[in-house]
Symmetry: C2
Subunit: 383 residues, 2 copies
């Protein structure tokens, strides 16, 4: 197979520490399976780069990254030192800009966050059916609330008006909803193979192995709510084997806490998806385990980007105590994704996932050093 | 005291059933304390009215309601019969319009939803610190994401674009944030009186009895995010006794599940507040107990509106099994609010709250008939 090339961007705070463990696992897997895999490390985007050059990353950053098959990101957004009024000097909207630039620049129009409560992961809900949680939240990642259009009229004046425009296109709506149905079908197939079945019901009463739940706030945000609803209805006709369901975002958040095991695939807009994926992360044990995949499934020349859902945690950075589990699950997801071109990588991704899951099941979320967790997982990979 | 007049609007689905119990409690309290209290029942807004007259309510509905001191609403949004493609005939955006019209028409710029996990209420979180949850979510209720500006360009065409504008004014931002600080101070005073203290810390390290957490998504929705942040900072100077905190909405949702007992007062925009208040409702036991108060604290000529957070639940309507607990907590909140003009009403509100809470503590959330719960509570009120 042609060599697969990864851009590794450790970023800020605990990013470099957890990325170091990911790289060790990649080295172990490469040696074991003679994978055609290479990676290059970039010192940007990062706060340190910003301090030296006054910008989050070089002007040609996107062009440089475009040469890679995937981007493995640690964490962004080290707030840097505080000023004497206790405010951070570098606002999030600057330090995190590269994240949004990559999503936009590489048209990573899907953000995918799976939620399964694996053994050993922290369980926040009282009801033990939490163990049955098995959902995939799919977030529209290219437009909507995140188009950055708007502004401030008379900033700081008593009669100031701030506007923010939400822009949704039917084309992007159609592709994300269709992607959701495709994933539902794929997941159902995988479950059936593993002998795990689920029962959903279509509106006309047929029973199904999978479901797509569309989330909107169409009773208040009517324009795109109606468009989403219509497109959802249309696309669903191509997937008669998938049950459908519509929830308003407020009710969906509530049901994520009350009965998350009732969901399968969930499709939501950029902002609503941002909220739902964070909730889904908690349901699967919290930030310590949750991967986030920013995908471009349509253009093979555009790299997809993989990051843990957690932030840069500046408060514990540099102490060697950050938990690399989410980073390693993220790396497994990346390998699985890259396996679309090279099946050996998918196999390696599965091995990595199994090793991290086994470690989690055995050790739970007890406090261990970053490198100790990495050691344990590398040892499993070598076994 | 001058007679206080309430407009009772039972609405749809289980609305009339739970409102009937609220009215019985009001009657009991009026007789017991010789309250100067009257109420009038309106058949609108409702689906039935819409069926007969083709509109959710009469054209002069707001003018009629304006004569009252408060509005007690059951529930809106009976979806009505389904058509043969299993879609509801009357979309939410029509049946729920009066709700948004009242909020707007009477400038009910605060939506307040308290969350405390009372004994007997359902506990969804595993961690028993859930019993310490004691927060008040304050939602900006007059603008922001809910201004209904926008539209659909080329509807139904492949190149359709749907837009939705968010509009925020500094004036409305300032008043909601200031209201949040005032409530924090008030709650701290009440807690100290009851001997319950809490410990928060200001950014410069002083310890406080109360906290306001501002929620935004300023790292992505920058324009109003920045304005909110600046106004929050400014207003906080008038409340040196209140600790401050800022959370991004995705992180806030996560922390509502992970450590809700760490919050006190939470201030959020219209849509983000909608989501957070639903989550807060789950944290206090679910829809069965959660009140929602739409307040105009500034204009005494504008009625405030009180409704349970739950919907009209058409699936169980007419069976006499709907739980009136949320409706009765809502009624208690209304009496407390009206007590600003007539202290006897505040006293009655406290009695009602105590009776409902005692019933909940004794009976938990076991299944009982609607009227059975009403009976039990009226008996407590008479005792
Ligand atoms: C950092 C922030 C801009 C980002 C987002 O809102 O998309 C983050 O919350 C995420 O979910 O990846
Ligand atoms: C019915 C709907 C328009 C409403 C809202 O979004 O405000 C409801 O969810 C609420 O919270 O009262």
């Amino acid at each position: 197979a042609q060599t697969t090339r990864i851009a590794v961007t450790p970023g800020d705070g605990i990013g470099p520490e957890v990325v170091a463990e990911a790289v060790r696992c990649l080295e172990t897997l490469r040696a074991k399976h003679k994978l055609a895999l290479e990676w290059t490390r970039f010192p940007w985007p990062s706060h340190a780069w910003h301090e030296e050059y006054g910008e989050s990353w070089p002007a040609d950053a996107l062009a440089q990254l475009k040469a890679y098959d995937a981007i493995l990101l640690g964490a962004l957004g080290d707030p840097g030192p505080m000023d004497d009024t206790n405010r951070y000097l570098l606002p999030d909207s600057i330090s995190l800009a590269p994240l949004l630039d990559m999503r936009k620049g590489f048209d990573q129009w899907v953000c995918e966050r799976p939620a399964r409560l694996l053994p050993g992961a922290r369980q926040y809900l009282k009801d033990d059916r939490a163990k049955d949680i098995d959902m995939l939240v799919i977030r529209e990642n290219s437009e909507g609330e995140y188009v950055s259009q708007g502004g401030r009229l008379r900033p700081g004046k008593p009669d100031e008006v701030a506007t923010q425009m939400e822009v949704f296109t039917r084309r992007a709506t159609e592709r994300i909803i269709r992607y959701g149905f495709e994933q539902a079908r794929k997941r159902a197939g995988e479950r059936v193979q593993e002998g795990r079945t689920r029962a959903f019901r279509t509106l006309d009463g047929r029973s199904c192995e999978s479901q797509v739940c569309l989330v909107t706030k169409r009773n208040a945000l009517r324009y795109w709510g109606d468009m989403y609803t219509e497109v959802f209805e249309e696309v669903s006709h191509d997937f008669p084997d998938v049950a459908t369901h519509h929830e308003l975002v407020d009710a969906a958040c509530m049901k994520f806490v009350q009965c998350p095991w009732a969901f399968d695939v969930v499709v939501a807009s950029n902002l609503q998806g941002d909220i739902l994926t964070d909730l889904a992360a908690v349901l699967s044990g919290g930030m310590g385990v949750a991967p986030s995949c920013n995908l471009n499934p349509t253009d093979p020349n555009m790299p997809s980007m993989f990051e843990p859902t957690h932030g840069s945690a500046p408060d514990i950075a540099g102490q060697g105590i950050a938990d690399p589990t989410a980073m390693l699950f993220t790396t497994a997801r990346m390998l699985d994704w890259l396996g679309r071109k090279d099946p050996k990588l998918a196999q390696a991704g599965k091995e990595l996932f199994d090793a991290v899951a086994a470690d989690l099941a055995e050790q739970g979320n007890q406090q261990r050093a970053t490198s100790q967790i990495g050691d344990a997982i590398c040892k499993r990979l070598q076994a």
